[in-house]
């Protein structure tokens, strides 16, 4: 049964919401069951042409020459498109919100950076003729060394994947090699913690595998406009991207979509729209560009791989006193949306827990893999999974029931989060309590009585004296200890200089596999009373809270 705990959000909204718990029919359902829903490919056009691309067989190679003469003469071929035919053959998706540098060509010209990168597009009367002509394009390559591991890619001297970012890392606000979070002093806290646990978590890339593959049909319309039937999840995002790449006024593009045959994040990259529209412009005919299933699975962007290294300091009574996380996001060869996922990751690093000392570092790294993109909570899912596995291990380490361990460390209303924002409407404690009740998981009396609404704030609202990094950039000015110096991550990167070394995590030499988690025996209700909920916070005077304004997101440029 669904319960809506309005008491927890009483001050949030006063309207009377009354839909939860009732059945409501979706407006698009009738179309789905009658087969009338029109997906992008469900549109008939006379004289429809088909577009297919030549893809790189190499993970990394210089292109020496491209010979399309045989393909141009092949039966049914109407047009061959090359990189120089694309008006603006370099783009990055988030440039529409002024975030990041253009780094990805629509069709590769001088170099390929991942296996499957498009180089030439062929437009023909039929799909079969387009595919046959693709095989006739002769590209000669000089293969280059490759890098597939995020930490290898950050080492000095590593192969440069994407020349726009010669350090193999995305440059935040043109200055910073990664995203940082600093709160308190983790090193000092590790020294006084009863236990320190360091673990490494590796996520694989995941393909969205929607049943409908990516695709677009574009056709000339009246008034010198083009109609574009698109699979895009963000239709206007795709419109803006296409307009930019083709240097067209956006009002010449009439995008139709919204019916997405499964997206999950895999249809935000405008993989097919720009070329289909360019094809329609160059041929004056409707052009359909649809990825085949193999193309979709191998070369359309997946959720990228992530690596999280988490080091926690915990006291015998269960309080987590320090958390240090280093995260590496594998963007593949181009930025697409990974830079944004990293920002989201940093926002989740402490988890929903009040930890007085937090240090986070997250890198968006370029490798010779297929460029990654959004997928269902990307940036968050991997780090949250890692944190929660780590929480189970910590609970085991100190011998506390994992549910109680979470209640003990959960943030409460009024607590200061490591991002220097005060926690409001926290409800983790209540969630854990409800889950425990539903699955008959015995909780101690103290844990059952705990509440997000009490026990927070006070000393837990303080911003601790924060260790600054080498340049003194993070933390309040009055807590800066070191004079600013030029160091990686802080100073503007000199153009085309040997890049500064990025500190790279080295796994501890003898890495012990974590012991299997025990089965937690049912506990009598009073077995493990929780200690007082307030973790000690270094007693710094709570200054006027001004940190939040400095929090950078992708939508505000750093001053």
């Amino acid at each position: 049964m669904l319960e809506f705990r309005k008491d927890l959000f009483a001050d949030e909204r006063d309207d009377n919401l009354n839909v939860i718990g009732k059945g409501e029919q979706r407006q698009d359902m009738l179309g789905h069951v009658t087969g009338r829903t029109r997906f992008f490919d469900d549109h008939g056009f006379d004289g429809l042409l088909h577009l297919k691309v030549v893809r790189s067989p190499h993970h990394h190679a210089r292109i020496r020459s491209i010979d399309v003469t045989a393909a141009e003469r092949a039966p049914g071929v109407k047009r061959v498109i090359r990189g120089q035919d694309v008006p603006l053959n370099k783009n990055t998706l988030l440039s529409l919100i002024d975030f990041g540098k253009d780094d990805e060509p629509t069709l590769a010209v001088d170099k390929v950076r991942y296996k499957g990168e498009p180089i030439v597009a062929i437009i023909a009367d039929s799909e079969a003729e387009a595919l046959a002509a693709v095989k006739l394009v002769r590209v000669s390559y000089d293969p280059l060394p490759t890098v597939f591991d995020v930490q290898e890619a950050l080492k000095p001297g590593a192969v440069v994947v994407n020349e726009t970012y010669p350090g193999n890392y995305f440059e935040y606000h043109d200055k910073y090699d990664h995203q940082k979070l600093r709160f308190g002093d983790v090193e000092a806290a590790f020294r006084t913690a009863d236990h320190v646990l360091e673990e490494r978590y590796q996520m694989s890339p995941i393909e969205h595998a929607s049943t409908e593959t990516n695709g677009t049909i574009a056709a000339p319309e009246t008034n010198n406009r083009y109609v574009v039937h698109s699979c895009a999840q963000g239709l206007f995002f795709s419109l803006g991207t296409t307009a930019k790449i083709l240097a067209l006024e956006s009002n010449r593009l009439h995008f139709i979509g919204g019916t997405v045959g499964g997206g999950f994040g895999g249809k935000v990259d405008s993989l097919t729209e720009p070329l289909a529209v360019l094809g329609a412009i160059l041929t004056g005919r409707p052009v359909r560009y649809v990825l085949g299933r193999e193309e979709e699975m191998q070369f359309a962007s997946p959720r990228g791989a992530e690596r999280h290294v988490i080091k926690d300091g915990v006291m015998r009574d269960g309080r987590i006193v320090a958390r240090q996380i280093t995260s590496y996001f594998d963007a593949g060869a181009y930025t697409r949306l990974t830079s944004y996922g990293v920002v989201k990751c940093v926002a989740h690093m402490p988890g929903p827990y009040t930890i007085p000392n937090v240090r986070g570092d997250a890198y968006c790294v370029f490798t010779n893999r297929v460029p990654a993109t959004a997928m269902r909570g990307f940036g968050v899912t991997g780090v949250d999974f890692s944190i929660e596995v780590q929480m189970d291990k910590l609970a085991h380490l100190v011998g506390i029931d994992p549910m109680e361990f979470r209640i003990l460390n959960a943030y409460r209303d009024g607590d200061m989060k490591a991002h220097r924002r005060v926690a409001h409407n926290t409800a983790l404690i209540e969630c854990v309590q409800v889950v425990a009740e539903k699955v008959n998981w015995p909780l101690s009396e103290t844990a059952r009585r705990a509440s997000s609404l009490s026990g927070g704030g006070g000393p837990r609202a303080a911003i601790p004296p924060t260790v600054t990094d080498e340049s003194g950039r993070i933390g309040r000015p009055e807590t800066r200890q070191a004079p600013p110096q030029l160091t990686p991550g802080a100073a503007p990167l000199p153009a085309h200089q040997p890049r500064p070394a990025v500190p790279v995590y080295q796994p501890p030499p003898a890495h012990q596999p974590a012991a299997a988690l025990p089965n937690y025996p049912a506990q009598p209700a009073d077995a493990a009373p929780l200690p007082a909920p307030a973790p000690p916070v270094p007693n710094a005077p709570a200054p006027p809270q001004h940190g939040a304004a400095r929090f950078s997101s992708v939508f505000t440029r750093r001053r």
Binding site: H32, G35, R38, H208, T211, T259
Partner: protein, 160 residues
């Protein structure tokens, strides 16, 4: 190669069309005849979104040559409803939230119809088997299975 004439019945109407010798039934139905209900998901027989009925039997449109359908009766999801009246499977899919993006739905419905037409009272296992060739990436299948079972029950109740 020369195009070849083919005649078959599509959702109750006689249709005649010229096809390439290697043209698939899916291509003919969609781009040749304009019925876009059956979908293309893989073109290699792995996803089932192209499922149509040929003489009542479920067939993968992407692996069936149009020239082999001469004189046959083809059914797609477009022909399921009787005018404004939904087929019990369609009503049950709506009721049980058995579609999210809806891309697998036309194929699912046809696989389910083939099952109920020959086995009006299937077990859960039989339903699972009947849609085993149909991939759905959104729903997790449970609502689809429940909808098919509910449609069977409802039809049974009507017959009784």
């Amino acid at each position: 190669m020369a195009r070849m004439p083919v005649q078959f019945r599509l959702n109750g109407s006689d249709r005649a069309v010229f096809v390439e010798p290697a043209e698939t039934l899916l291509g003919t139905i969609r781009r040749g005849l304009g019925d876009f209900a059956p979908k293309f998901g893989c073109g290699q027989g792995t996803c089932g979104v192209c499922t149509v009925l040929v003489d009542g039997e479920p067939r993968l449109g992407c692996l069936t040559l149009s020239v082999t359908c001469e004189g046959r009766s083809i059914e797609t999801a477009s022909g399921l409803a009787d005018g404004p009246t939904l087929h019990p499977l369609q009503a049950a899919f709506m009721e049980h939230f058995a579609a999210q993006c809806g891309f697998c739905t036309p194929g699912m419905l046809m696989a389910a119809k083939a099952l109920l037409d020959r086995n009006p009272n299937p077990t859960r296992v039989e339903v699972v088997e009947a849609i085993a060739g149909n991939v759905c990436r959104c729903t997790g299948y449970e609502p689809i299975i429940n909808a098919i079972l509910a449609a069977a029950q409802q039809r049974g109740a009507r017959r009784a």
